[in-house]
């Protein structure tokens, strides 16, 4: 198994999507946020592709997205302006933070006349009425999608797509489980590349790769010293370069709590006679984004549990600059982790990262953890 495959698919995401269109004749739809039910798109033979940035200066975003909106939202719209997502036949947004909503609306100005759907997913997922509400929104989205597609979807097609997506989630969870080992058989960078590839590829093809990866990982032993076991907690984070460079400083990222990691794939679709309700229950019940985690802030305890399950020695709290939902959560997460003996280091991400400055802080953080371990 060549683990570089996932990296290649991540880096060549646009080539993959264009090639997929050519060989299948299918349509490709971009998704904003992990609450878009990919299963409905896949059931219609459409490839869902998560819209991500490129980590290049996004100066051209200025007429569309306010300068104090998060770098991720600016980076994404910049991709549309540069024509990198021209192959998309549409975009779907599940109600999320204002910054990404702004990018979704701006996207329609850059790419008008395509299928652009705003799904009003409930913000308060803890509400006892959230599943009923989300079920109705799933049905509305399905109807709009069927109309655009020009044909109805059979429930059996949706159930089959649910099965494929759940297999994907189960495989990723199993691979993540191997990282609990004192000598994880894969680095944090490799794990992130795997999850990212799954949000950009056909799930059936991704599942095939994951099965091969899982078989190989069971006997794989990395030569490197894993060093300090860290977790990474935060907002959208697809910066594999940052993870890789950080791991070269004498640590391994063994788990994450962010929406390009565990929040994307943990939990499965429950059995339900109505596939729309089944999807609603899965998405309402998945590890929540801080913009939806009301009234109780359940993310704090979930993060602590992950830290304990993976025997974490320290946590990097990363946040996209100006990301209000995460700014709200970070103080509580920081204090909970530190109260439980897990030191934290806060890093604010921009479109590009000044790694030289981050490096000193991460090294000092690692020195602190190592010194603590000696006493």
């Amino acid at each position: 198994m060549d683990f570089e495959t996932f990296r290649r698919h991540g880096r060549g995401r646009h080539d993959y999507a264009r090639d997929w269109k050519k060989r299948t004749g299918g349509k490709v739809v971009g998704t904003f946020c992990t609450y878009v039910p990919e299963e409905i798109l896949a059931a219609g033979g459409v490839l869902p592709v998560r819209i991500l940035g490129s980590h290049e200066p996004a100066d051209d975003a200025e007429p569309y997205v306010f300068g104090m909106f998060c770098p991720f939202s600016r980076d994404c719209i910049s991709q549309a302006i540069r024509g990198r997502y021209d192959y998309l036949d549409g975009t779907v947004l599940a109600q999320t933070c204002l910054h990404i909503r702004n990018t979704f609306w701006s996207w329609q100005k850059v790419n008008p006349g395509r299928f652009h759907y705003y799904m009003c997913f409930p913000i308060k997922v803890q509400s006892p009425r959230a599943v009923d509400y989300a079920t109705g929104e799933m049905r509305a989205f399905r109807a709009a999608f069927e109309k655009w597609l020009g044909r109805p979807l059979a429930d059996a097609q949706i159930r089959d797509a649910i099965r494929v997506c759940d297999e994907n989630r189960a495989l990723l969870e199993e691979i993540y489980g191997l990282r609990k080992d004192p000598h994880p058989p894969l680095t944090g960078r490799e794990a992130m590349e795997m999850v990212l590839a799954g949000q950009l590829m056909d799930k059936r093809e991704h599942n095939q790769l994951l099965r091969q990866a899982l078989a190989a990982l069971r006997t794989r032993r990395l030569e490197r010293d894993p060093g300090v076991r860290l977790m990474i907690v935060g907002s959208e984070d697809d910066d594999t370069e940052f993870i890789g460079t950080t791991e070269e400083l004498g640590c391994t990222i063994v788990v994450d709590e962010h929406c390009t990691g565990t929040r994307y794939f943990l939990n499965r679709t429950p059995d339900d006679p109505d596939p729309m309700r089944a999807l609603a229950r899965r998405y309402v019940g998945k590890p929540p984004c801080p913009s939806r985690d009301w009234d109780a802030r359940t993310r704090t305890d979930r993060t602590l549990q992950l830290a304990r399950d993976y025997n974490v020695q320290g946590a990097l709290l990363v946040q996209q600059k100006f990301c209000d939902p995460h700014e709200l959560d970070i103080p509580a997460i920081k204090s909970t982790l530190e109260r439980n003996g897990i030191p934290t280091l806060f890093l604010e991400f921009d479109v590009t990262i000044p790694f030289g400055q981050f490096r000193t802080r991460i090294e000092a953080f690692l020195e602190m953890i190592r010194a603590e371990a000696l006493f």
Partner: protein
């Protein structure tokens, strides 16, 4: 047996040589483009004898090829302050291009915060304002202490702060009041950074900016605590590195 700590900072290279737990030599040089040459010159000046082990720290520590270890300035400052002021539980280090606060105990860093984004929280800010006010850097603090009037400065950024200073000059605001406003503004930045951690006295202040008496007073007012400035305040990280080098023997 000589052990050497070299702190390659943004503006200066500091070298400290230890022998049997005592400082035997020290030197400071401005860091130029050929920092390796500056390191060699400072080392020659500080060390009268054969150095057995070198440990380098600071943002330019990679330039010291012969270093046995290259720990961060945070770890070294915690070690160094324990040597100079064992009772200190927090050290605030304000250098040319970075400010940081470190909670420490027994020579170990327990937690830290860094201001690396805002130039208005680093020594370069004072230098820039000195040029704008046409006064020597060394005279900045004593001049500011003569001020009896509080002039608020609101700018969040060194560049805009300079514009604000120019406006004050145009309004014929006395130089000492402007100098005080600059020190107060900078102390506010550093104070905010420190409050990201708990303030844990006794607090030591080190780094080149510790020489600015008006800044020290402003920071004491901001943090509502006394600050102790140890002798060799600029050498704290180099001392910490030298102590780590001594352990290598």
């Amino acid at each position: 047996m000589l052990s050497c700590g070299i702190d390659v900072g943004a503006r200066t290279v500091k070298v400290v040589v230890l022998e049997n737990g005592r400082i035997r030599g020290r030197a400071i040089r401005v860091a130029g483009l050929q920092v390796e040459d500056d390191v060699a010159a400072a080392l020659k000046e500080a060390a009268a004898g054969e150095v057995r082990t070198i440990v380098a720290t600071g943002s330019g520590r990679e330039a010291v090829k012969e270093a046995r270890q290259r720990p961060t300035g945070i770890t070294c400052a915690a070690r160094g302050i324990h040597f100079l002021l064992p009772e200190a539980r927090m050290v605030i280090d304000v250098g040319a291009e970075e400010g940081r606060a470190i909670q420490c105990e027994g020579g170990r860093a327990l937690n830290f915060a860094v201001n690396e984004k805002c130039a208005a929280g680093a020594g370069t800010f004072i230098e820039t304002m000195s040029r704008t006010l046409e006064i020597a850097v060394d005279g900045f603090g004593p001049l500011a202490l003569q001020s009896t009037k509080l002039v608020p400065m609101n700018a969040q950024c060194a560049v805009f702060a300079e514009s604000e200073v120019v406006s004050l000059i145009h309004e014929k605001t006395p130089k000492q009041d402007i100098a005080r406003a600059v020190c107060d503004a900078m102390a506010g930045r550093i104070g905010s950074m420190c409050r990201r951690l708990a303030i844990t006295p006794p607090v030591a202040l080190v780094g080149g900016v510790a020489k600015n008496t008006a800044f020290v007073r402003a920071l004491e007012n901001d943090l509502k605590t006394d600050l102790t400035i140890p002798p060799d305040a600029e050498y704290v990280s180099a001392i910490g590195a030298a102590l780590i080098a001594a352990e290598e023997h």
